[in-house]
Amino acid sequence: MNLIAVTFVAYLGLVLLVGVLASRYGRTMEGYFLADRGLGAWVTAISSVASSESGWLVLGLVGEAYIWGARAVWTVPGVLIGYLCNWYIVAPRLRQQAAALGAITIPDYLEARFGDRWRLLRSVGILIILFCLMFYVSAQFTAAGKAFQKAFGEDYGITYQHGVLIGGLITILYTLLGGFRAVSWTDLAQGLLMAVGLVVLPIVTVSSAGGFGALFGELRRAPPRVEGVFEVTEGARLEEVGIETEGVDLAPGVTLAREGSAGGDGYRFVARLGRETAIEVNGEPRRGLVELAPGDRMALGSRTVTFEKIVRMVGGPDLADVLGGLSGPALLGWLLGLLGIGLGYPGQPHVLSRYMAARSRRTLRQGRLIAIVWGCVAMYGAVILGLGARLAVPGLIDPEQAYPHLATTHLPPVLGGILLAAIISAMMSTADSQLLVVSSAVARDLIDKMIDLRQRLATPSVERTLVWITRATVLAVGVIALLLALGDVRAIFWFVLFAWSGLGAAFGPPLLLALFWRRVTRWGALAGMLSGLLVTVFWKVRLKAVFAEATGLSLYELVPAFALSMLLTWFVSLATRRAAYVPHGLDGLAAPDERRTREV
């Protein structure tokens, strides 16, 4: 076993140990889902940011900077704006009000805040969480499966399915045993590991380029490129299909090639077939020259190859410019899209639960400094790494593999193993938090509150029984997510498209107004939640293209969905103002100066 594998196994063992140690604590629902509201500043801060960023940070953002150059940097203010909103606006009030109302989950809080006896808000909240997060957990397991396969496929024969099972089962096990406490502790370690990776690798790439000045000088001279990415549906990525190197045989008589001139959209991708050869493309037999488009599936012997995407990479002076040579509607769409990411943060239940679990107001004050420093270091690290990777490894067919590629080729094995563990960490830290939120929607919101099992059982040990039911729910939800990840991956990613925006637009505006405005009503909140999710789905599926055709502006779905949800929550609340309700004990809604309010 090589050093990278040893480091990896040690990391997984450590994560499991944390789960076992934390299992001694969560003996009540509040203990299991909120660690008895006793999280310290470091755990609150790092676990909240680690669970919100996922594999997207170490793979997606790095790949974005690799493809688009310096213009990808706009993602960073977008994310940091989200942190500012959550830590300075949402967190102090949410912690105080959730504690006063005894709320453990976001649907719990909404129901208590509006005195919703009909349980409409809780029911809609459960459905939104299941719709958005259930498949998100599967997507994280899918990403873990690919990462394991990438790291250990060649040496140890680890397939995608093995990877999904290893990553998924370990995550399920420590979440099941230790609940929120285990999830938060492991997230602390995982978040710090991610930050280490996003500091070390950028330093390596920038210094190998000769410093920042040389890096940006080289980027200005880098040529534009067009690449095609192919994937075998069994899971193995066909990186050997080097379109860059022109013409690689996939099967006897079948050659994939790039045609056309360099730069811009000049290339097209084709399969050249011999006279005697026929292949099935999208289920139809084809001969001769077949032009390929993203999503086309080719049957080659026993395997099916999917032509996944065409990656067009920016080059020249635009690569080193934060506006990337864009102007007019294209620039506006780009900026709104990336800065709009921040609108999603106040609506993510798996992030908000960290603020509800913080020990005190002082914890949050310390936590926001830690979270913002972490955000600046990790986010800028990812962008600079992507830019450096464009020069260090210019021939990458899948730019999202820049981080693992550099970790394994440019660093000593132990450090490389630790930084590879950071990728799995990023996925596990998000998967565990989301798994717990989905389980809380079922165990707390549905079984405990809506079916009212607590009243029906009415035994002295009912709390302990509920915790065991909760553990069984984590297992059941985890296994379903695992089976989904082993099954139809494409269906998972269809749902994941709506997850961040759907949650952000559905929960964000009603929650923001509920925390600060006395007059918001349950009807207003309900209108905001439903409109937020529905506009997200319809904008993504249909309206985005129509709007882009009419205005030339490709608008990220979260922006209109969040705005409409906010407006509807406000208008409907005003229209139904007689239903306004403020429960006892919500001092936050009356406190004029938070800073002078005494510690709760």
């Binding site: 706009w74 909103c85 606006i89 002076p317 080193a320 420093v373 600046c376 925390l515």
Partner: protein
């Protein structure tokens, strides 16, 4: 207060960044987004943290006296 904070975070701050980026030459906007913005943000968080600590300590010292 809440509305002002929300407007500052989601409208004023991003609009100021975009305006600065559009109105300055490429090298300057690169510096603003890559260096000045994160440094300013971390400084803001740090100064806020110090102010909070001072505010927390003030009643305790008065009590001791």
């Amino acid at each position: 207060m809440f509305l002002w904070r929300l407007l500052f975070v989601y409208l004023v701050l991003p609009a100021a960044l975009v305006l600065l980026a559009i109105l300055t030459p490429p090298t300057t906007r690169l510096w603003i987004l890559l260096v000045a913005f994160p440094v300013a943000l971390m400084l803001f968080a740090f100064l806020g943290f110090l102010a909070d600590r001072r505010a927390d300590a003030a009643p305790t010292q008065a009590g001791r006296r």
